[in-house]
C-alpha cells in the first residue's frame, strides 16, 4: 500500500447496508466455532445463566430423587435432507442419543419437533419419519413426544427437526473434563470427517463423487462397552459441528490442560482426505456424527481400546494424542515434519451448514 493510500482521506462510511457490522446473524454464527461461542456468551448465557447450563456440556445432569437424569436438545438444519449414509431424520435421532451417550447416559426417551415448509412432499416426510424410527430402534429408544408446525412456502428450507432427549446415568459413573490428568491418553473411535464429506458430496453445486458415507450412528452401545471395560475414563465428546479439533479445544479449556495431537496418528479415510484437498478443508474441523473422542488414564489405554474395538462402531479406534501439561489450556498439533503448531477452534467457517 502506498503512502498516499494509507495517509489519505478517512474511509467513507457509505455502506449500503443499513445494519451495523456484527449486529445481525450471519452463517458463521452456526459454525460451532468462535462466532457461535461469542453468540452464546453474548445472548444466551446472560439470559438463561444457571449452574447447569453454564457448564456448556453436551447434556445437563439433574437429580430426580436418587436418579441422575440427563437432558439435552439439538436442532437439525442439514442441507440436503438426504445424503450417502443417512438423512436428517436419522441424524436428529443419533445426534441427541450421542449427546446423552458421551455424558455416560443411556437414552430413555426422545421428543421430536418438525418445522415443515408449505409444499414439502408428504411421501418424503414419511420416509424421514421411518428413518427416525429405524435409528431410534437401533439406539434402543423411542420418540415419546412430538410436535408439528407448518410455515409458508419460502419461510423454511423444506424441513427442520429439533430433538430433545432424556437419559439416565448409572450411579458410579463420573465423567467430565475436570477429571483429566497430565499424562492421560486421547482416543478416537474411528476415521474422522466421514459425515461432513458425505453431506458435502451430495450438495448441489459440489459436483464431486465419493464413496464416503456418513458415519451417523448411535454411540450408546459403544459407550456401554467402554464403561464396562473398567478403564479409567475421564471425559468423552462427540465431535460433531467443528470436528475433532473443536471438541479437543473444548476439553482443554474445560480442564485447563495442554493436549498434543499427533497428525500422523489421526485416522482419516483416503476418500475424505482427497475431498478435503479438493475443497480446501482441514479434516480435523469436519463433522462426525458417529464418532467419539475419549480421554482416558494412559495406563488403561490398551484396556479401553480393546473394549472399543469389540464394538462395530469402534473397530478402528486408536490413540491420537496425549495430555502433556496443565496450566494454560491449549491444543498443539505435531506435524509429520516434526514441527508443532497450535490447533485452535475454527475461526470463521469452512463451508456453511454441514449439519
Amino acid at each position: 500500500m502506498s503512502n498516499s493510500d494509507r495517509g489519505g482521506s478517512p474511509v467513507s462510511f457509505s455502506c449500503p447496508s443499513p445494519v451495523p457490522k456484527g449486529e445481525v446473524i450471519v452463517l458463521g454464527h452456526g459454525s460451532g466455532g468462535r462466532l457461535t461461542a461469542e453468540l452464546v456468551s453474548r445472548v444466551f448465557l446472560p439470559a438463561f445463566s444457571n449452574p447447569l447450563l453454564d457448564r456448556l456440556n453436551d447434556s445437563a445432569e439433574v437429580k430426580v430423587g436418587a436418579s441422575r437424569v440427563l437432558f439435552t436438545t439439538d436442532a437439525f438444519v442439514v442441507n440436503p435432507l438426504r445424503y450417502p449414509g443417512g438423512d436428517i431424520g436419522s441424524l436428529a435421532v443419533n445426534g441427541t442419543v450421542n449427546d446423552l451417550a458421551v455424558a455416560g447416559g443411556q437414552p430413555i426417551g426422545l421428543s421430536a419437533a418438525f418445522i415443515l415448509e408449505e409444499g414439502f412432499p408428504i411421501a418424503e416426510l414419511e420416509a424421514i419419519a421411518q428413518s427416525m424410527r429405524t435409528a431410534a430402534d437401533r439406539a434402543g429408544v423411542a420418540v415419546i413426544a412430538a410436535d408439528t408446525k407448518v410455515v409458508e412456502h419460502g419461510k423454511a428450507d423444506g424441513l427442520f427437526i429439533t430433538t430433545s432427549g432424556i437419559g439416565v446415568v448409572a450411579g458410579s459413573i463420573e465423567l467430565g473434563p475436570e477429571r483429566i490428568q497430565v499424562g492421560d491418553a486421547v482416543l478416537v473411535s474411528g476415521p474422522i470427517g466421514d459425515h461432513g464429506i458425505a453431506v458435502m458430496s451430495a450438495r448441489e453445486g459440489l459436483a464431486f463423487q465419493t464413496t464416503i458415507v456418513s458415519d451417523s450412528a448411535p454411540l450408546n452401545g459403544l459407550v456401554s462397552l467402554m464403561l464396562e471395560s473398567g478403564g479409567a475414563l475421564r471425559c468423552m465428546r462427540d465431535p460433531t459441528r467443528g470436528g475433532v479439533a473443536t471438541v479437543i479445544n473444548e476439553v482443554a479449556k474445560g480442564s485447563g490442560v495442554e493436549i498434543v495431537i499427533e497428525e500422523t496418528l489421526v485416522p482419516v479415510r483416503s476418500g475424505v482426505r482427497a475431498a478435503c484437498e479438493i475443497l480446501g478443508l482441514d479434516s480435523l474441523y469436519v463433522a462426525c456424527e458417529g464418532r467419539l473422542v475419549a480421554i482416558v488414564d494412559a495406563a488403561d489405554t490398551a484396556k479401553v481400546l480393546a473394549a472399543m474395538r469389540r464394538h462395530p462402531l469402534g473397530r478402528d479406534s486408536c490413540r491420537i494424542g496425549t495430555v502433556t501439561g496443565s496450566g494454560a489450556p491449549r491444543v498443539l498439533l505435531r506435524t509429520a515434519f516434526g514441527t508443532t503448531r497450535p490447533l485452535d477452534v475454527l475461526a470463521g467457517m469452512q463451508l456453511p451448514r454441514i449439519c
Partner: protein, 369 residues
C-alpha cells in the same frame, strides 16, 4: 493419495533441508508469490525448518486480497438492486468493502450466492431466466480461463441475463511492481505453479533479465516448496538469475495453449488499481470489445469510486512482503477471520488468515513482548 503423499514425505523434506543448509552462506529473502504456497508453509511450519539465513516473505498471490475495495463496493451495490443475483466464490463474499461485505448484504436481503465455478453461475442464469445473474469474476490467470469459457458459452447461447464483473488480474505485473519498488526486500521469487500451468513460463524471462532475480516456478506441497527454496538459494549463491521450473509435473514451457487462446479471445489487458500495489499497467483482464455486452459494469451503468483502505489495516505492506502478518498491530486483536479488517485475513490463501489459522497469534504476542 498419489501426487500428494510423495510430496509430503518427511524424509524427502529432510534431505532438501540438509541440502539448503549445505548450500547457504549468507542471508537471502525469498518471496513465495501465491497464497496457496503461503498456506502450505505456515500449515506445516516449513519456515521453522529452514536455516535462519532464509527469510520467506509472502506475496500478493491471493486473488481476493488484491481486488480493490471499489470493485467490492460496486458488487455490493449491484447485488442490492432488485432482480439481480450476484454469484462469486465463497471467499470473495467475506472480503470487506468500505464498511460491509457481500454476506452482510445477503443478511439484509440481497440475493448473493456462492458458486464453485462461473459455469455454475451460467447454469443458474439458464434456469432462472427472469433474474439477471452476475458473476463477480476474481482470480489470477488460473481462474480466468473458466470465466472466459462461461462468457463465450453465454454468447453462443445468446443468454441475455448473464454478465460478469471482470476483476481478473495477472501475476507478472505484480512481481515487476514489487521488484522495481524502492523499498523492495525480495531477492528471489517462487512463482505460482498453477498460474504457470495456464500461462507457461516464458513471460517471466524478461523480468529475470531486467531485474536479475531468480524466479522458480514452484508447486504447492511441502516438498515442492522446499525444492523451490533449494533451487532459488542455489541460484542466489551462484550469482545466477534464471527462470527454473520446479513444478514440471504440471507446468509446460508454453502453458495450456487452449486456455491461453480462450483468454486472448475473451479478455483484453487493462490497467488496474490493486489493493496494496497501486495502479499497475496491463495488470488486469477486462472483457474484449467482442464480448462487451456481457460486462456487468457497462450493462448496469456502474461507476467505480476509488476508496482508500482503512488506515488500521496494513494489508498493502503484507502483500508486498514488507511486513509479516504478526507485525501488524491489528493482527489477532482488532483483525481476526471472524472480524477481518482486510482481505488477507479472510481468504484461506490470505497470509494473515494463514498465520491466524496456524495459531501464530500466541507466537506474535510473545514476539511483541
Amino acid at each position: 493419495m498419489k501426487f500428494v503423499d510423495e510430496f509430503r514425505d518427511a524424509g524427502a523434506a529432510r534431505t532438501l533441508i540438509e541440502q539448503i543448509h549445505k548450500t547457504i552462506t549468507r542471508s537471502w529473502t525469498i518471496m513465495e508469490v501465491c497464497g496457496g504456497q503461503t498456506h502450505t508453509i505456515v500449515h506445516y511450519g516449513l519456515d521453522e525448518l529452514l536455516p535462519s539465513e532464509v527469510t520467506l516473505v509472502h506475496g500478493p498471490g491471493c486473488p481476493v486480497c488484491v481486488t480493490p475495495i471499489e470493485m467490492i463496493d460496486l458488487a455490493i451495490a449491484l447485488a442490492k438492486r432488485p432482480g439481480i443475483t450476484l454469484c462469486s466464490f465463497g471467499d470473495m463474499l467475506r472480503v470487506p468493502g468500505s464498511t460491509c461485505d457481500l454476506f452482510d448484504a445477503r443478511a439484509v436481503g440481497a440475493d448473493v450466492r456462492v458458486v464453485y465455478s462461473p459455469l455454475d453461475a451460467l447454469d443458474l442464469a439458464r434456469r432462472e431466466p427472469l433474474r439477471e445473474v452476475v458473476f463477480f469474476a476474481v482470480g489470477f490467470e488460473t481462474t480466468a480461463p473458466t470465466t472466459a469459457a462461461a462468457v463465450r458459452q453465454a454468447a453462443r447461447l445468446k443468454l441475455p441475463n448473464f454478465s460478469v464483473i471482470a476483476a481478473h488480474v495477472r501475476v507478472p505485473p505484480a512481481i515487476e511492481a514489487i521488484v522495481s519498488s524502492g523499498d523492495n526486500l525480495v531477492q528471489g521469487f517462487l512463482a505460482a505453479g498453477h498460474v504457470c500451468t495456464v500461462m507457461g513460463i516464458d513471460e517471466y524471462r524478461p523480468l529475470v533479465e531486467k531485474y536479475k532475480v531468480p524466479i522458480i516456478v514452484t508447486g504447492f506441497e511441502p516438498v515442492d516448496l522446499l525444492q523451490g527454496v533449494a533451487m532459488c538459494v542455489t541460484q542466489l549463491e551462484q550469482g545466477r538469475a534464471e527462470v527454473e521450473n520446479q513444478y514440471v509435473r504440471s507446468v509446460k514451457n508454453e502453458g495450456n495453449i487452449t486456455a491461453r487462446d480462450l483468454m486472448a479471445e475473451v479478455f483484453t489487458l487493462v490497467d488496474r488499481r490493486w489493493r496494496g500495489l497501486d495502479t499497475l499497467p496491463k495488470s488486469a483482464m477486462a472483457l474484449s470489445d467482442r464480448y462487451a455486452a456481457y460486462d456487468a459494469i457497462g450493462r448496469f451503468g456502474l461507476t467505480q469510486t476509488p476508496v482508500d483502505e482503512p488506515v488500521e489495516c496494513r494489508a498493502g505492506e503484507v502483500l508486498r512482503g514488507l511486513l509479516k502478518p504478526p507485525q501488524c498491530p491489528a493482527f489477532g486483536s482488532s483483525c481476526t477471520p471472524d472480524h477481518p479488517l482486510g482481505a488477507p485475513m479472510v481468504s484461506a490463501e490470505g497470509a494473515c488468515a494463514a498465520y491466524f489459522r496456524a495459531g501464530r497469534v500466541a507466537a506474535a504476542a510473545m514476539e511483541a513482548k
